[in-house]
Structure formats: structure tokens, C-alpha cells
């Protein structure tokens, strides 16, 4: 793993998200609680909705286009919908968000 420092946790509003541009495509970085961050691919498997624009509740996000709900932890669609979004390892340390760069490049190569 190679941890890349991408931003301060406070750069993302509580229960909000921001987009991280990577060679593997856009990644949505979520902050569901004061000091947690999760990173998921920013494309909804249903019809490509930008998950970073969804409403964040608990450790879940609701897609803005047709309200599918995804777990931020596993990327799995919740309830009756079926699908999964790629997730990327993220750590929060001393108020900074770190993302696993290897996972980003690996997805890219694959």
C-alpha cells in the first residue's frame, strides 16, 4: 500500500462528499461522521449517477438520480436493488485523509 495524503477531513462538510480525480476515474470521498472518510467510485452502477452528489446518512449514500442506496463501507446496494460500487481504502490520521494509491492504480491497470 502507498498512502497518498489528499486533503484535510474538514475540507469535506460533515455528511457531505467531494470528488477526487484519479487516473482510474472520479472517486467520491465521503465524510459520514466527524472523523471518518470513505472512498467509492463516483459512478452509480444503475445509470451512472454521481454518488458524490447524493445525501449521506448513517454510513450510506443515496444516489441523486433514482434513489438507490449504497453502503459506504462495502459499496453494496442496499434493500431490493442489486449492484456494487468499487471502494478504495482510506485512512484518517491527524485530521488528514489518506487514500491507498496502489488500489487506485491497480483498478486502473485491471
Amino acid at each position: 500500500m502507498s498512502w497518498i495524503d489528499i486533503a484535510a477531513i474538514d475540507d469535506i462538510p460533515l455528511r457531505g462528499a467531494r470528488v477526487l480525480k484519479t487516473a482510474a476515474g472520479c472517486v467520491a470521498v465521503f465524510r459520514p461522521t466527524e472523523d471518518e472518510a470513505y472512498a467509492l467510485s463516483d459512478r452509480c452502477p444503475h445509470k451512472g449517477g454521481p454518488l458524490s452528489d447524493g445525501i449521506v446518512h448513517d454510513r450510506k449514500v443515496t444516489c441523486p438520480l433514482h434513489n438507490w442506496v449504497f453502503s459506504l463501507e462495502t459499496g453494496e446496494a442496499q434493500g431490493a436493488d442489486e449492484g456494487r460500487v468499487d471502494t478504495y481504502p482510506v485512512r484518517v490520521e491527524n485530521g488528514r485523509i489518506l487514500i491507498d494509491g496502489t488500489a487506485l492504480t491497480r483498478r486502473h491497470a485491471a
Binding site: I4, D11, A23, G48, D53, H57, E73
Partner: protein, 814 residues
């Protein structure tokens, strides 16, 4: 031969260590104990009860002179150690040297003082020792004394509560959004804040300190916040954190990181020097609570006695020592995958409990109001117990492995007797309960005897719950449709309870109304956010994260994730300059589609999210503002050309439309609101199918409400007639405010009207002139906050919401 042991610091950790050492072998060492404070070991934790007056200093001394004498400990209290000479193996105190064979650092930590201008003024103190405590006690003896505490953590709140108990007027200033954010989540933080406010303590969250201001006497006079607020005070207590006290160890050349490095045996980088307590760093961890320090004390004593032992850092739990604030927090709430929450709330008792589960284990627990089971949960956290078997009933604790579920009636049961249930007729809970007990056993007879729920009917749900509560199983309330799976209450009930219980924040609603999830979902959050801002426009701050993306980004999201941008054209009137600016913007941002909408304005479709602030800035510069084409708020006021041009026009319909749009724009409403103003009954502005439609006639204005031309099509009903333009405006504004205050989220006016009836609305908007004026006034108060262009605001302060967090495209490719 007895070896010489020197201990620097007579605090919580070294006191416990000495007990273990002497119990193990009283002859092993000849001990000298230094302490910078002019006294020996006392229970520092208990300073808070001393401050609040529940204990005296004598009660909290752990080791008195007799104890040191009996155990042959030479004490050098009130003497600071200034250096350690490791080559000669001597400790240098202010009054002379002492040689050592083994040396222990137990220097604790120093309070961190934020270097604000004025932080070194007399009257600015920390909260660490007996001297600080005494300053606060002395303040309490002065009538009318005021104090400010910076820091809403454990220490700050204990200081605040202690001073308040002594009659001091205390304000707590906390930089984060809720109190004790390291230990508590928002809901528990809300309950804690409320308990403190009940004790008369003022609490300011999300508040940034800027400067400490001196008075004429050179002492602290006030704290100034960065928004310019001045909080006058005679004493300022800073309780914002601690830093390990490592200077001495560092000068002596020991390995020091954030604290003095120790291994599992509590030995530093020098084999003859050991350390423990808040001054150490073990395996990257620092310490701020006593439980692990006691473990360290035992290990260190064992190491000195040659007994094998090792220190293992365990989870800690926290309790706040403020009488009446019963809270408990343990374990970890952050940073791990696969976590689930179990939440329990009992609004009637002010109880909140939350467990964080990871797989089959509890990893964190917060509770407020009823912390009896804290220790039980804590032991499961420490032991990593597999809880899958008892998961369903886990939250009820060890005694309750039978599993009653949360009581949906709890919120109503908790209401005081004087809480207003029926707003229309001013009927409170006590009156209704009395009537039920007096024999009114169903809704119709209650309506007849008390008038409750006899008018608009939005309180029917609550009245039925009162019937159920009072009559028990004898009454079966018809099942009402709750907002969503997060709670058991209907929209109407939630609205009424927000008003009658004066709930002014989302965590307050979640807690007091028994939400079953930590922070709602995409269905209830936007509704609750709207209800709060409609009811408390000045107090509640709109929460963008509780809004659908369109309202958060002030543009309509498209199927491909781009956005549409639609500036306002007041009453459908535009100018060549505006049209040029729109054309320029369309060129500059390569807008794929430019469309004239059904709402008499122009839509720029397909703008990239990142470009939004830029295109808005260009449109703002040409004098245009957001058209709110995305909002549950005022959309358009469609007009016709009216008396200025049309040969049939009876009044200035265009002018009235523009006036109405300028008054109403920016307001949030339960669903979108569209208006039309036609200059004559030919009705070219299609006014008779709008939410509010005005048709001009010779004698004045006919005001219709509750039209629809979307999924349903419906003609407006006549609200009333107005002789003057001003009266037409007042009727419109009063109608919209009544709708804002009462309708269910996502009911258009026609749906709401069908529930409450036109008569009910007319009584308040048309017949009762005082009520009309009051509605207009409340609308204006709300508009003092919301009649602003969100585009201009976002260009100025929220730009980075639209930009990517970071761009790794280059890095990741390497």
C-alpha cells in the same frame, strides 16, 4: 545495599506506583519524591467535586505526611527538578542535587494554552491543579461574577459546571459543532448541552475565539469571537487540551517523540530511567485518563522489583463528573470498515444509547441519561465478546434480555401538560387528557368537548395518540403513515412537536422524537430541515447536507450528471443586455442546449458541475440572480403584458407579477410554488392553474389558490378579492406563509388545501386581519434571512464545494 530511587512528579501515576513498589518490597529502595506543586499526591480527578463544593481538598489527599514518613519517602515538595545529569547519575533540584540508581519521570502534562492575543493576561487560567481550582472557587465568592470557558470537552465542562454551582454566570465557547465531540455523537451532545443550559450555563458551539481583551486594570475583561461578539468575563478558563511535559527528559537527552518513549516495561531509552503517566508515549499512544496509568504504575513497580510484566494499552471509558449529566462513552467510533449502529432513544426519559458494532463485536458505546449498563458494554468491548446471539436485545442491557421495543408513544407521553396540541384552537395536552378521563373516549367526542383537531386537522395524529396513551388498550388508533422508517410519527405530528417542544436542531428532533437511525435518511432529512427553517428562521441554520443535490448545488442535475442553469427573469421580462450576457455565457461554457422554458425564462442545459460558480459569476455581473428552478420554493411568476400594452388589460399584471416575484423569491416552501398574474379574464398567463393565480378585473384583483397543471390538473379556488394591489400582495404572502407553516413536506398547495379546507385558510388569511398581518410579518422575518441570491453567496464563500478535492490523475499514472 538499598538502591536509590528518585521520582520526579507526585501525581496520580507516581502515587499508585509507589504503593505497588512499597507493597512489593518496602526495603528495596531509598526513595526521594520531587513535586513542583507545594504538596504531595492527591486525587487530581476529584478537583471537580472540590470546585463544585461537593468535596474539600482534605477529602482528596491520597497520601499524607504520615504515609511518606512511615514508608521512608523523602519528600521535596514545592521544588522543581531543573536538570538531570545522566553521566553523574544525579537529579538537580532547585535546592540541590540527589544521586540516583534508578530514576522515574512522572511529570504529567501541561495544559495547552491557545496563543490568542491576551492569553497571558492575569485572570486567564488553565484547569489542572489546586491553584486553578482555588481561583475558580474565589470567583464564586464575588457576587455577579462572570466566567468564560474555552473548550467544551471533559475538563472545560467540569470547570463550567463547578463554577455555575457556585453562582458564577458561565459561558462555554466550543469550536466544534457539538460538545465533547471526541467522546459523543451529535445526539448525546445535544442532550448534554440541554442539561447544561438547564443549569444556567450558556453554550456556544461552532464558535471561534479571536482575542482576549484586557480591562483598564490590566486583567482579562472579555473574550472576543471572530464574528465580533464580546463575552464579558472576570475569569477565563482555557481547557482545550494537554501536552505531555517532556522538556526535562528532552534536555537530559532521552528519546522523546510526542511523549517520553517507553517500552512495554516502562523503561526509557536509558536503562536506568523509567517513565509513566501522561508524560509518556507508548507504541505511538499518549494518555489522558487514569485507567491505563494505573496499569503502567503496576508494570513500572514490577520492573523496578525485577518482576517480569508488560504494559498493554486497553480501551478506555469516560464519564463526565457533572451532577445531573449522566453520560458514558467508551471505545472507538471512527475509522474502520463494516460498522453498524444500534440506536435506542427514549425521549420521555431523555435517554440515548448507541452501540457501534464491527462484525460480531461491540467496538464503541455512547449513552446519555441512563448509563447503568455502561460497565457491562465496556467489558464486552474490552473482552471483544461475540455478541451475535444477543444482538436483537443487546441495546437493552444485561437486565433486559427479553426485548421490549422502543415505545412509539414515548414522545407524546413526555410532553408537559401545558404543551399546545391543537394550534388552531389553542388546546393543550392537559385539557385533552382531562376530557378523555372525563369520558370523551373517541375523536368525535373529543372534538366536541375540547375543539381539539376540530379545525385544520393536522393534530389529529397527536390527539389519537393521547387517546391511546390515556385509555391504553381500550383505544386502537388508526395506523398513521410515518414519515419514513426512521421514526413512528407522521409529518404533521413532527411539525406540531417541533413547534410545541421548541426543537431547533436536527439532533434535537432525532432525540426528542425517537428517531431509530443515527441521523435520518434521504426521505426525512430534507423534510425535517425544511420544518426547522420554516419554524425557526433566525435560530436554525439551513443544512445543505440535508438537501437534495439540486438545492445543495443550486442547479438541476441532469441524467448525465451535468447541471442546468436558469437565471431569474422577473415576471418574464428581460433586456437585450441580459440576453447578450446569457448568449456570452452559453458560448464561454460551451452550453450544449439553450431552451425557452414553460416558465417564461431561459434554461442553459448541460453545464459541468465545476463550472457552476464561474457561469454564475458571469451572470451575476450582468445583474442576474438564481431562478431557483431547482427549489422547493418560489419558482416563477408568469405574467401577461397587461394594461401597459394590451387593449383588454385592466391592471398592470406585469408590474404586479414582478413585485410578487421580488417579495417571494428565495423563500423555501414545502413544495415548489408557481404564480401567475393575468391582466384580464382571458387569462393569458394561465393564472387559474397556478399555486396562486391572480386575475385582474376592473374592480381589482381576484385571488385564486390551489390550482394544478402537473400530474393533476385543477382549477384554482377563489381565496378572495382585493381592491388594491397592496391587498392582493398581502393576501398572497399570507397564504404562502400559512402554507409554509402548516403543510406537509412535498404537498403542493392544492393537496394541503384538500386536507385543511378552504374555509380554514380563509379564516386566517382573509377574515382575520390581525392574523393576516402576523403571517405577513413572519414571512418578512424569514425573508430577512433567505431573500438573498445563493449564486452570489456560493461564488463568494462556497466555491470549493464545486471543485474537486484533489487531482491525482498525474500521481496515479506514475
Amino acid at each position: 545495599m538499598t538502591k536509590k530511587l528518585v521520582v520526579i512528579g507526585a501525581g496520580m501515576a507516581s502515587g499508585r506506583m509507589l504503593e505497588h513498589l512499597i507493597a512489593g518490597d518496602p526495603q528495596a529502595y531509598d526513595i526521594t519524591l520531587f513535586n513542583a506543586e507545594p504538596r504531595g499526591n492527591y486525587n487530581r480527578l476529584m478537583l471537580s467535586p472540590v470546585l463544585s463544593g461537593e468535596k474539600t481538598y482534605e477529602d482528596i489527599v491520597t497520601h499524607d505526611d504520615d504515609w511518606y514518613a512511615e514508608n521512608n519517602v523523602t519528600t521535596r515538595f514545592g521544588e522543581k527538578v531543573v536538570a538531570v545529569d545522566r553521566d553523574r547519575k544525579v537529579v538537580i533540584g532547585e535546592k540541590g542535587e540527589v544521586a540516583y540508581d534508578k530514576l522515574v519521570f512522572a511529570t504529567g502534562s501541561n495544559p495547552f494554552m491557545i496563543p490568542l492575543p491576551g492569553h497571558d493576561l492575569p485572570g486567564v487560567i488553565a484547569y489542572r491543579d489546586l491553584e486553578d481550582t482555588q481561583s475558580m472557587i474565589d470567583l464564586g465568592a464575588r457576587p455577579g461574577a462572570r466566567a468564560v470557558v474555552i473548550g467544551g470537552g471533559l475538563l472545560g465542562l467540569e470547570a463550567a459546571a463547578g463554577m455555575a454551582a457556585r453562582g458564577v454566570d458561565v459561558t462555554v465557547v466550543h469550536i466544534m459543532g457539538h460538545l465533547m465531540e471526541r467522546q459523543l455523537d451529535e445526539s448525546a451532545g445535544f442532550l448534554l448541552r440541554r442539561s447544561l443550559m438547564d443549569k444556567g450555563i450558556k453554550v456556544l458551539c461552532s464558535a471561534n475565539s479571536k482575542e482576549i481583551v484586557a480591562g483598564d486594570d490590566g486583567r482579562v475583561r472579555a473574550l472576543m469571537l471572530d464574528d465580533g461578539t464580546e463575552l464579558p468575563c472576570d475569569l477565563l478558563v482555557m481547557a482545550v487540551g494537554i501536552r505531555p511535559s517532556t522538556a526535562l527528559a528532552q534536555e537530559a537527552g532521552l528519546a522523546v517523540g510526542k511523549g517520553v518513549h517507553v517500552d512495554d516495561q516502562m523503561v526509557t531509552s536509558d536503562a536506568d530511567i523509567l517513565a509513566l503517566g501522561e508524560c509518556v508515549e507508548h507504541d505511538g499512544a499518549l494518555f489522558g485518563l487514569v485507567a491505563p496509568l494505573y496499569d503502567q504504575a503496576k508494570v513500572l513497580a514490577h520492573t523496578l522489583l525485577g518482576v517480569e510484566d508488560r504494559f498493554v494499552n486497553k480501551e478506555v471509558s469516560t464519564k463526565l463528573k457533572v451532577t445531573g449529566c449522566d453520560l458514558f462513552s467508551a471505545g472507538d467510533f471512527a475509522d474502520a470498515a463494516n460498522r453498524e449502529d444500534i440506536v435506542f432513544r427514549d425521549p420521555a426519559r431523555g435517554v440515548y444509547k448507541r452501540l457501534v458494532l464491527e462484525g460480531n463485536r461491540i467496538v464503541g458505546a455512547v449513552m446519555y441519561g441512563d448509563t447503568g449498563d455502561g460497565a457491562w458494554f465496556y467489558s464486552h468491548i474490552k473482552d471483544a465478546t461475540d455478541v451475535s446471539e444477543m444482538r436483537d436485545t443487546l441495546i437493552f442491557g444485561p437486565a433486559y434480555q427479553g426485548g421490549a421495543s422502543a415505545d412509539p408513544l414515548a414522545a407524546v407521553a413526555a410532553l408537559p401538560d401545558d404543551a399546545e396540541i391543537c394550534g388552531c384552537n389553542g388546546v393543550c395536552k392537559g385539557t385533552i387528557v382531562d376530557a378523555i378521563q372525563g369520558g370523551a373516549g373517541d375523536l368525535p367526542s373529543l372534538k366536541a368537548t375540547t375543539k381539539a383537531s376540530n379545525s385544520c386537522g393536522t393534530c389529529t395524529g397527536l390527539v389519537e395518540q393521547l387517546l391511546e396513551l390515556t385509555l391504553g388498550d381500550d383505544y386502537a388508533a388508526p395506523a398513521a403513515q410515518p414519515i419514513c422508517a426512521c421514526c413512528d410519527l407522521t409529518h404533521e405530528d413532527v411539525r406540531r412537536l417541533i413547534k410545541s417542544k421548541e426543537l431547533k436542531s436536527q439532533p434535537a428532533v432525532w432525540q426528542e422524537l425517537g428517531w431509530k437511525t443515527p441521523n435520518g435518511c434521504h426521505t426525512c432529512r430534507p423534510a425535517v430541515n425544511f420544518y426547522l427553517l420554516a419554524d425557526w428562521p433566525l435560530e436554525y441554520q439551513d443544512d445543505p447536507q440535508s438537501r437534495f443535490v439540486n438545492e445543495r448545488k443550486h442547479a438541476n442535475i441532469q441524467k448525465d450528471g451535468t447541471f442546468s442553469v436558469m437565471p431569474r427573469m422577473w415576471g418574464g421580462i428581460t433586456t437585450p443586455d441580459e440576453l447578450r450576457a446569457i448568449a456570452d455565457a452559453a458560448d464561454k461554457y460551451a452550453v450544449p442546449t439553450v431552451k425557452v422554458t414553460g416558465g417564461q425564462r431561459i434554461d442553459l442545459l448541460g453545464v459541468k458541475g465545476e463550472d457552476l460558480p464561474n457561469i454564475w459569476k458571469d451572470l451575476n455581473e450582468a445583474g442576474m440572480v438564481s431562478g431557483h428552478a431547482y427549489s422547493k420554493g418560489l419558482r416563477t411568476v408568469k405574467t401577461c403584458v397587461g394594461s401597459d400594452h394590451c387593449r383588454f388589460g385592466t391592471q398592470d399584471s406585469t408590474g404586479l407579477g414582478i413585485k410578487l416575484e421580488k417579495i417571494l423569491w428565495g423563500s423555501w416552501t414545502p413544495h415548489k410554488v408557481k404564480l401567475g398574474v393575468s391582466g384580464c379574464p382571458r387569462n393569458c398567463a394561465e393564472a387559474t392553474c397556478k399555486d396562486v393565480g391572480i386575475v385582474c378585473v376592473d374592480s381589482g384583483y381576484q385571488i385564486g389558490v390551489g390550482g394544478a397543471a402537473g400530474m393533476d390538473v385543477k382549477e384554482t379556488e377563489r381565496l378572495g378579492d382585493a381592491a388594491t394591489e397592496q391587498e392582493a400582495i398581502d393576501l398572497t404572502v399570507a397564504f404562502i406563509q400559512l402554507y409554509r407553516e402548516n403543510a406537509k413536506y412535498l404537498d403542493r398547495p392544492y393537496k394541503w388545501l384538500a386536507k385543511v379546507g378552504l374555509d380554514w385558510v380563509q379564516e386566517r388569511v382573509v377574515d382575520d386581519l390581525d392574523s393576516r398581518a402576523a403571517l405577513v410579518e413572519r414571512f418578512e422575518i424569514s425573508q430577512s434571512v433567505y431573500r438573498k441570491d445563493p449564486w452570489a453567496q456560493h461564488v463568494e464563500t462556497e466555491r470549493n464545494r464545486y471543485a474537486p478535492l484533489a487531482d491525482l490523475t498525474l500521481e496515479a499514472a506514475e
